[in-house]
Amino acid sequence: MKHARTLRTRGGLSVRLDTRATLVVLLLAAAALAASVALIGTGDYPMSSADVVRTLTGGGTPAQDFVVHDLRLPRVLVGLLAGTALGLAGAVFQSVSRNPLGSPDVIGLGQGSTAGALLVIVLFQGDPAAVAAGSVAGGVLSGAAIYALAWKKGVQGNRFVLVGIAMAAILTAVIGYLLTKANLTDAARATVWMVGSLAGRDWEQVGPLAVACALLVPLVLGHGRALRMLETGDDAAYALGVPVERTRLVTVAAAVLLTAAATAAAGPIAFVALAAPQLARRLTRAPGPNLVAAACTGAALLVTADWVSQQLFGADRLPVGALTGMLGGCYLLWLLYTERRAGRI
C-alpha cells in the first residue's frame, strides 16, 4: 500500500498507481519488445537489431523489407498477441478458481480446442483456416460445457476446476481416439498442431487474433477491480456491490474466447497461461489478479521462449510449445514444492 501513488486530474478524475507494479509492467513491455526485435532478426537470413528497427520504421532495403514484413513480423505479432491473450486468460481463471493451478490447459479448454482442431484435420482434412475455426468452436463449446456443468446456484471455484479436470480427461480420450483413426500423415500434422508453434504464421492468423484481443482485453481489464474484490470471497464482494455471478460469467467467457483465439492462431501452447500470472504476481508483489502485468508477462514469455528455441535448436526444429511445455514442467514442480513447503497443498 505504501508504494501506491494516486494521480489526480483537475477535473476530479483519479487513478491509483502501484509504483512497483507500474515499473514492472513497463520493464516487461520493454523486454517483450526487445525479444521481438531479436526474434525478427533471427533465422536463415540474420539481421542486426539496428537493421530490424530501421526496416520496421520504413528505411530498409527491399529484401529486408520483404523478410521483415512478410515473413517474420506476423510470427512475432502472433507470439505477442497469443502471449497476451494466454497470460490474461490464465490470470482470470486463476483468480476465479482461487487456485494457482487453475489455468486453461489444466481445466480442459486446451483439450477442447485440440479436439475441435483434430476433428477437422482427421475427418475433413481441412485447410488451416478450417482447423482454426474448429479449434475456436471446440474451445468455446468445452468452456460452455464446463461452466454449465459446474453451475449449481452459482459457480464455485473448486467445482469449476474439478469439472474442468474431468472434461480434460474425457476430451483427452476423444483426442486419442481421433489420433488412432488418422492415417500417419494426418496424425503427424495433428501432433505438430497439438504442440503449438509460431512457425510459418502469416497475416491471416494475425487478423482475427488482433480483433479478438482488441475487443476482449479491454473488457477483461475493465472488470479488474471486480475480480480483485471477488478474491476476498463471494459474500464480501457481494456486500461491496460487485455483481458476483455476472462478473464471473463475463470474465470467464472473455477468457475462454481469448484462449480459443490464441489457440486457433498458434496451437495449444502449454503452460504460458499457468506460469505468466504467477510470475507477474511475484514480480509486482501486488495483491489481486495483476491483469496487465500477467498479460505483459505472457507476451514476453512466449516471444522469448520462441527466440530461445530458435537459438538453441536451430530454425524451426523444435516448436515453441515444446519448449514452454518443458519449462512449464520445471516451473510446475517448483510451484508444487513451494506450495507444499508453505503448507498449502
Binding site: 459446474a150 467445482r159 474431468a166 480434460a168 474425457i170 483427452t172 501432433t191 514442467g329 508444487l336
Partner: protein, 348 residues
C-alpha cells in the same frame, strides 16, 4: 478414506449399523458370478461372434479350426489381460484413495499412468527399447517416480482432495507435453506410440500376459494383505499409531503395491483412466468402509468394469473398435463430475 460416508465426529461409533458378514459374502459371490459372465462374454463377443459351444470347444477341445485359433490366440489372452489389468487398476485406485484419504484419487488422474507412459515413450524414442520386458521396467520406473511425488504431496496435513487432483492433473499435463515433444521429433516412434498411449487391450497376446502376470499377482497379494493397516490409517495418523500400526511401513508397502499394479497394467495396455476412481466408489455402496471387504470386491468388480468397457468398445463401432481407455474415460468422466457436484463436496 471417503470423507462423505464417515459419521460426523460427534456421533458415537455405534450409530453406524453393524453390517453382517453373510450378506457381504453373498454379494462377493454374486460379483464373482458377474465376473465369470463377463469373462465368457469377452471371449465370445467381437468383430467375429463366436457361439458359446464353440468357445467351450476352443478352450477345452482345441483342434486348430479357425474359431479355435481366434479363441485361444486372440480372445483368451485379451480377456486375461483385461482381468489382470482391471484388478490391478481397481486395487491401485482403492489403495490410493485409502492412503491419501482422498475420494478423488485415481492412478490416471494423479499422473501415475502418465509417468509410466512418459518413461516408456522415452525408452522407445531415445533408447530404442522395443520389447515388452523393457516397457515393463521403464513403466515401473516412471510410475514409481510419480507415486513418490504424489505421496510427498498427499502425505502432508493440509492436502485437500481438490489440490491433490489439481497437482496430479498438472503433472499429467506436463508429462503429456513431454510425450508429445518426443513423438514430434521421431515420427517412427509416433506411429508405434499413438496406439499405445490411448490404452487398449487389443495388442494382448500370451507373451504379454505371462510377462506382466507375476508383477500384477504380487501387487494384488500385497494390496490385499494391507487391508487391516489401511483400515487403521483411515482413523487418522495418531489413532492408527495408537492402534499399533507401523505407519511408515504401511505407506511404503502401499506405495510399492500401487507402483507394481499401475506400472504393470500401464506397460501392458497403456494409460487407462478412471477405473481406479470408479470402482471403489461403487464398491463402498455394498461394503461400507471396511477395507477387508472393499479390496476383494474391488479386485473382482474392477475387471468386470474394464472388460465390460472393452466389450462395449468392440460392439458399438463394429467392425472397428473403440479402445478401452476411451470407453472408461467416457464412463468415468461423468461419474467424476457427479461426485464433484454432490452437496458435501465443498467440505472435502
Amino acid at each position: 478414506m471417503l470423507v462423505d460416508s464417515a459419521p460426523p465426529p460427534t456421533a458415537a461409533p455405534e450409530a453406524e449399523p453393524r453390517r453382517r458378514a453373510a450378506p457381504r459374502a453373498a454379494g462377493l459371490l454374486a460379483a464373482v458370478g458377474a465376473l465369470l459372465l463377463v469373462l465368457v462374454a469377452s471371449v465370445a463377443v467381437g468383430a467375429k461372434q463366436i457361439p458359446l459351444n464353440q468357445v467351450w470347444h476352443g478352450l477345452f477341445h482345441y483342434t486348430g479350426s479357425e474359431t479355435d485359433v481366434v479363441v485361444r490366440d486372440v480372445r483368451v489372452p485379451r480377456t486375461l489381460l483385461g482381468l489382470l489389468a482391471g484388478a490391478a487398476l481397481g486395487l491401485a485406485g482403492t489403495v490410493m484413495q485409502a492412503l491419501t484419504r482422498n475420494p478423488l484419487a485415481d492412478p490416471g488422474l494423479f499422473g501415475i499412468n502418465a509417468g509410466a507412459a512418459a518413461a516408456v515413450v522415452s525408452g522407445i524414442g531415445f533408447l530404442g527399447v522395443s520389447s515388452l520386458t523393457g516397457y515393463v521396467w521403464l513403466a515401473f520406473l516412471g510410475a514409481a517416480a510419480v507415486s513418490v511425488v504424489v505421496y510427498a504431496l498427499g502425505g502432508s496435513r493440509g492436502a485437500t482432495p481438490v489440490r491433490l487432483a489439481l497437482a496430479g492433473t498438472a503433472v499429467t499435463a506436463a508429462l503429456n507435453g513431454y510425450i508429445f515433444s518426443v513423438q514430434l521429433l521421431d515420427t517412427a516412434a509416433l506411429d508405434r506410440m499413438r496406439f499405445w498411449t490411448v490404452g487398449s487391450l487389443a495388442s494382448a497376446n500370451s507373451t504379454v500376459v505371462s510377462q506382466v502376470a507375476p508383477f500384477i499377482v504380487a501387487g494384488i497379494l500385497l494390496a490385499l494383505a494391507l487391508a487391516r493397516p489401511l483400515n487403521a490409517l483411515a482413523l487418522g495418523d495418531d489413532q492408527a499409531r495408537a492402534l499399533g500400526t507401523r505407519l511408515n511401513t504401511t505407506r511404503v508397502l502401499a506405495l510399492a503395491a500401487v507402483t507394481l499394479l499401475c506400472g504393470a497394467a500401464t506397460a501392458a495396455c497403456g494409460p487407462v483412466i478412471f477405473v481406479g476412481l470408479m470402482v471403489p466408489h461403487v464398491v463402498r455402496v455394498f461394503t461400507g468402509p471396511d477395507m477387508r471387504w472393499i479390496l476383494p470386491y474391488a479386485a473382482v468388480l474392477a475387471p468386470v468394469l474394464l472388460l465390460g468397457s472393452d466389450i462395449a468398445g468392440r460392439v458399438v463401432v463394429r467392425p472397428s473398435e473403440l479402445q478401452v481407455g476411451i470407453v472408461t474415460a467416457l464412463l468415468g468422466g461423468p461419474l467424476f463430475i457427479h461426485l464433484v457436484r454432490r452437496r458435501r463436496m465443498a467440505r472435502l
